[in-house]
Subunit: 419 residues, 2 copies
């Protein structure tokens, strides 16, 4: 019951132990801090290789889809259906030519840093018992998409499924055919006005119109603006941001938005709150296309953080036909990188041991093209697998709650410390 | 290979079978449609029982916390710590009195439709081996919260954990103590400036300031405004909305926002995208407190839809000490209700069979206070468990993609069809 020196220590402010952070301190001058970012921006803007077309690369047997407007998609559907009707009237039944989305028909193009679809096409005749059901579903989906386009509305995949449960039976069946239809028409899935649900949020130095409403993302309080799933309703995207900060998690986003990080360092802060959804990926692509500024990724130092960057960068295999609008090349890995753990003296107790499945997942990543084609990323991943340690962005809170915004990021930017 | 009549049928528009919907059609006049809503609003506004205090109800042994500002919370922490220091200097060691958050100390108050904490308190002495660690953690959390309040910033629970991993060891340990500290101080967890991540989104006839920025939720495009996790940064909430539409899922939210449902029927549309998070619950409570308009819930017709309503309504057991600001009384269940499946002739193939675990979960709900105290809800849940059928909001798409906004909701409103 007596006085205990440990007790006093706990109460005393001195117990907030001042651990050693990084050696350097960032400049107070935002212009100095941003010099490296501006160099990167210039280099990227001058680089002609940027978003080369498949044609320029001499890849003739790959297929990509394009963003098309409602009327064009509707017209293409009409053309496909008239062809089928004529074929029926000629007494020859009908069939569709559907681009194959099998992995054997996919190709990673290192110059583009993404996967595209090769040219294999499979024929889907109505008169075959093997394909009759799929052909009927394809026809129904074409008809429903046509209706949606004419009404100028957007629906979700789930809505589509529920319009004809008897025919579709499982949502997987209508979903798969929806991707087929996008490939047949040669448009993005979003061009079919079938959209995914929204998850992302944006704040910072960017303005745009969302369905006509003017949105200024520097005036969105601390909560930010929800990124709409109807990405084609976004117009007039502008801004004086000098870079995009792509953040894995909501907690880091909150820190950045509360500290209004973008006021001092003109940037756009985007998060999909975990695994990137289609809308956030489309939005990032749109920002990059319109503003052409560097994109810097801030993710956890673990295999999933890296995977998240790769989805923004190279896309998922399932929608590789649409990789041009869904992926964004030239994303830099700013942090938290495995080497940061030592550089920034992150205390041992704030690092976590990788689990068996983390290690397995990391080893799988070693074999992926986006890692194999980037030696610096490869080296970081190998370091992670060697030390078997991971760390979250939040681990930086150990040096103080605002260490992320006041020290870590400015320093990273000033030193051009990205790969 | 010949012409197949089935083929033609699939292609023909006539195959979009016109199934029988509900018998009545809603009025084209929004004022007529909203008559029942206005009656409900008036009744709720006149009702004195609305948000009675525990004192008024004669419940003296229950404990609730209040929203407190940064300075008040900081002062209370200083008082607690000075007391401890004095006790140490007097040679008697120190201890904290911590309100018990065990279920045995929780009470459902039917008049309030929520759970509150009873008055049991446990003593946490530093000198006991059983409580020394928890007492040290409590002290550290008090000190960290004090720092955050002085800096006038907000952090997440995860940030808090990472500031002293050596002491906290597991995040559960710092999280639990954080709730203890809120109870000790008598303030909400949000008043400690420790917030949850944001998930919710809002659109419609409401304006407010988010950290000083003026936000007009009728001008948020189709994406809506992200509900900030820093709910205490929201001020000046106003609006001419006549009701709140509380939506379970993002897909329905998208339909409502794309169709700008709130233009025709002045309302505020809120979704937490599934299980309600703390920020969305606080926001709903704030809307209700400021505008005092009816709240109508639109959820899937399954036990989880009902559970979602109950979380908004009665809160979770874990944070019952804060139920006054986290819960919102008088939420009406608009739909999709089990009885709607017949009333609206939802085709059999759009209904889903309840799984074993759905049924088990539904049976558990039958025993919960919020159901037992509401015979109409009880009857619906019993009907669900009898038919063993569930349905999603999306099932309404079967009658057309805009059936939800153009027919179902107006009709429900006009008929005052909520319970």
């Amino acid at each position: 019951m007596g006085v205990n020196s440990g007790t006093v220590a706990v109460l005393s402010k001195a117990s907030v132990s001042k651990r050693k952070g990084p050696l350097a301190v960032a400049s107070k001058d935002a212009a100095v801090v941003l010099q490296e970012v501006n160099k990167l921006a210039k280099a990227q803007q001058q680089s002609v290789k940027h978003r080369a077309t498949l044609e320029e690369l001499g890849i003739s047997d790959a297929r990509e889809v394009a963003v098309m407007d409602d009327a064009d998609v509707a017209q293409t559907i009409e053309r496909i259906v008239i062809q089928a009707a004529q074929s029926i009237l000629a007494g020859t039944g009908f069939s569709y030519d559907v681009p194959s989305r099998a992995s054997s028909n996919q190709l990673y193009v290192p110059q583009l840093e993404r996967i595209v679809l090769k040219s294999a096409v499979s024929n889907r005749p109505f008169s075959s018992t093997a394909t009759v059901r799929k052909t009927a579903i394809t026809t129904r989906v074409l008809s429903l998409v046509h209706e949606v386009l004419n009404k100028r509305i957007h629906i979700t995949k789930r809505d589509l499924f529920y319009t004809d449960v008897k025919l579709f039976e499982k949502q997987n069946d209508s979903d798969a055919v929806l991707d087929d239809v996008a490939c047949m028409i040669g448009c993005t899935r979003t061009s079919l006005n079938v959209v995914a649900s929204e998850k992302g949020v944006v704040i910072g130095r960017v303005t745009f119109r969302d369905d006509g409403d003017f949105i200024d993302c520097t005036k969105m309080g601390v909560g930010g603006k929800a990124i709409p799933s109807l990405i084609d309703r976004i117009t007039d995207l502008q801004g004086d941001a000098q870079f995009v900060l792509l953040v894995e998690k909501d907690a880091a986003f909150m820190r950045l938005s509360e500290d209004r990080f973008y006021n001092q360092y003109p940037c756009i802060i985007i998060t999909a709150r975990g695994q990137p959804d289609v809308s956030t990926r489309l939005f990032l692509n749109m920002v990059k296309t319109r503003l052409n500024i560097p994109i810097l990724g801030l993710v956890d130092s673990d295999p999933y953080g890296l995977k998240i960057l790769s989805v923004y960068l190279s896309g998922s295999k399932n929608m590789s036909y649409d990789s041009a609008s869904l992926t964004t090349s030239d994303i830099k890995w700013l942090g938290v990188r495995p080497s940061d753990l030592e550089t920034y003296n992150i205390p041992k107790e704030c690092r976590l041991d990788m689990t068996e499945s983390d290690i397995k997942y990391g080893q799988d990543l070693l074999k992926e093209d986006f890692i194999k084609n980037n030696p610096a990323w490869m080296a970081e991943l190998e370091l992670m697998l060697k030390t078997k340690e991971k760390a979250e962005i939040q681990a930086l809170s150990n040096f103080g709650f605002q260490y992320l915004t006041q020290t870590y990021l400015p320093l990273k930017l000033q030193q051009g410390d990205w790969i």
